[in-house]
């Protein structure tokens, strides 16, 4: 049986929640003080996800970088791979908010999209 301790991010309380795991099966959750804590803890130990935000290099723009994000949550374990692809990417100006910069980043099926506008420079 594996024990995982985490801090709930649902509110400023920051409850310490303990999850007991049997392989990938959640055996028990304790320490939470509201339902949000339980939901968060189970998601966090079974399939933690994050939105990754960064910047992509721009060629021929008024700026050299454009802000970007993964269009939806990606598995937490994929962050490093995604950052490597984002850092290797280049985009030509102009770039508009919502433009797809990488169609399928790190085989997640999720796109990296621009979150800022950069004009032609």
């Amino acid at each position: 049986m594996e024990k995982r301790e985490l801090t709930c991010i649902g509110c400023p309380m920051g409850c310490m929640v303990t999850v007991e795991l049997d392989g990938s099966k959640v055996r028990s959750v304790s320490g939470y003080t509201c339902p949000r804590g339980k939901t968060y803890a189970i998601k966090e130990v079974t399939s933690p996800t994050r939105i990754v935000t960064s910047t992509v290099r721009v060629v021929g723009g008024t700026r050299t970088r454009v802000a970007c994000k993964t269009a939806s949550d990606i598995p937490k374990g994929k962050i490093d791979e995604i950052m490597a692809e984002i850092n290797a990417a280049r985009v030509s100006a102009p770039v508009k908010i919502g433009d797809i910069l990488i169609a399928d980043v790190a085989s997640t099926g999720v796109a990296v999209v621009a979150t800022a506008n950069v004009g032609k420079g």
């Binding site: 935000t53 050299t64 970088r65 506008n117």
Partner: protein, 420 residues
């Protein structure tokens, strides 16, 4: 002299929201003066997500949140000038500004909305001993370098202060390949949001050392190492607890200060607690026709509240210009007591207020299972239990005009924290 109905100083989230609200309230002559090369303010460098949950019910990044307002301002044909620095505001509402194309110029405004935002507390205000080499940045400067300019300020990083920008930059620098050795926080609690501590520090195993500070910086040309030490209850370093960390960069995230030099030149009275103007229920300062909103008024943790307050300020400025915001009726003082550090607004006029008034405040310490109480003079009208309140999270209460109007001789509204 050129005349404009409303001049808005600053084109960040507060200025944009105020301008849009004023325009929609029927004021056509509006000018935003922005010192940067684009609208949007600090949001442009806040590329992380989490903005707009209250306003748009979705999680946006900073530039996306700003863009919603910029597009709206453009659609409403609101006039703005970029790369324009306001040099002076007179109590008679003459705004003197300069830029490269127009040189120095003055404009007479009927109303002015202060929306200049805030700046970071610099090293000079922190009294950190040691050398003054390159490699010491405020967290926001590092954020601009990484996210806008595309430069990495360093590779081996120590961060002093656990404000949200510091936490966000701990993650950002790590994702870009730097090693963040630790975040040291002088106080026994973090000033940042819980979510940021988990997702920016815990996710990357970056230690947060509470009740610790930097006591020495080494390196003559470039930072070579910093020494941190534990501090006691008096916040003074405890001898013998020093630990040395080799690094090339020190980021400072030690608080934000409303930027009110222009407010002072206009004769606006400032709060000794927030550093921002004292305002009434319509965000009007004690200088007639000058309003304030956003981080220049008090530092916010959520931009959503900035937009909301600025909207109110913009509407009020439009009403002032239209002659509908008359100063009649008795002034009621809002008093912050027992753990409440300040309230915004700090005065109100029952006759002039809207049906409800949101009063925002911060507490001075971490309070568990305590009550937020509201007193009208000596009578308690509200007593609401909160499981936790922390200095890093802004709190609010809502006052109802109908309730206040029942007490014609009302002099003081008190907001305080009570144990029971």
């Amino acid at each position: 002299m050129k005349q404009v109905d409303i001049i808005i100083v600053g084109g960040g989230p507060a200025g944009l929201s105020a301008a849009i609200a004023a325009k929609e309230a029927g004021c056509d002559s509006i000018l935003i003066l922005e010192r940067d090369g684009e609208l949007g303010g600090i949001l442009n460098q806040c590329i992380h997500n989490g903005f707009g949950l209250h306003t748009f019910h979705e999680e946006l990044t900073g530039p996306e949140y700003a863009d919603r307002y910029i597009e709206r301002a453009r659609a409403l044909s609101i006039d703005y000038r970029l790369n324009t620095m306001v040099m002076d505001i007179s109590p008679e509402r003459v705004v003197t500004a300069m830029n490269r194309s127009d040189g120095m110029f003055s404009i007479q405004a009927k109303a002015i909305i202060l929306a200049m935002g805030c700046r970071e507390r610099p090293r000079g205000a922190l009294n950190i001993p040691g050398y003054r080499p390159a490699g010491i940045f405020s967290a926001g400067t590092a954020q601009r370098l990484v996210n806008i300019e595309g430069y990495m300020p360093g590779r081996q990083v120590v961060i002093l202060g656990s404000g949200d920008i510091g936490l966000i930059m701990a993650r950002r620098m790590t994702l870009e390949g730097a090693t963040v050795k630790l975040v040291a926080e002088l106080m026994p609690y973090s000033g940042g949001l819980k979510r940021n501590i988990v997702q920016c520090l815990d996710d990357f195993d970056i230690p947060l050392r509470l009740s610790h500070t930097v006591v020495n910086i080494e390196g003559k040309e470039r930072v070579e190492a910093v020494t941190i030490a534990a501090v006691g209850a008096d916040r003074k370093p405890i001898p013998g607890t020093e630990e040395r960390y080799t690094c090339d960069t020190l980021l400072l995230s030690c608080g934000l200060i409303p930027e009110n030099e222009l407010s002072k030149s206009a004769g606006v009275s400032l709060s000794g607690v927030t550093g921002g103007p004292l305002v009434n229920e319509h965000f009007e300062t004690d200088v007639k026709g000058i309003f304030a909103c956003g981080n220049v008024l008090h530092v916010h943790d959520l931009v959503d509240y900035v937009s909301e307050e600025a909207q109110h300020a913009g509407q009020a400025a439009a009403r002032y210009v239209q002659g509908e915001l008359d100063a009649t009726g008795a002034v009621v003082a809002l008093r912050a007591q027992g753990g409440v550090r300040y309230t915004v607004p700090s005065t109100l006029c029952v006759d002039r207020m809207d049906d409800t008034l949101t009063v925002r405040f911060r507490v001075g310490d971490v309070y568990r299972d305590s009550y937020v109480s509201v007193y009208l003079d000596d009578r308690r009208i509200s007593h609401r239990k909160k499981r936790i309140m922390a200095p890093g999270e802004m709190e609010q209460i809502v006052l109802k005009k109908a309730e206040l109007a029942q007490m014609p001789s009302l002099r003081t509204v008190t907001v305080c924290i009570e144990k029971e």
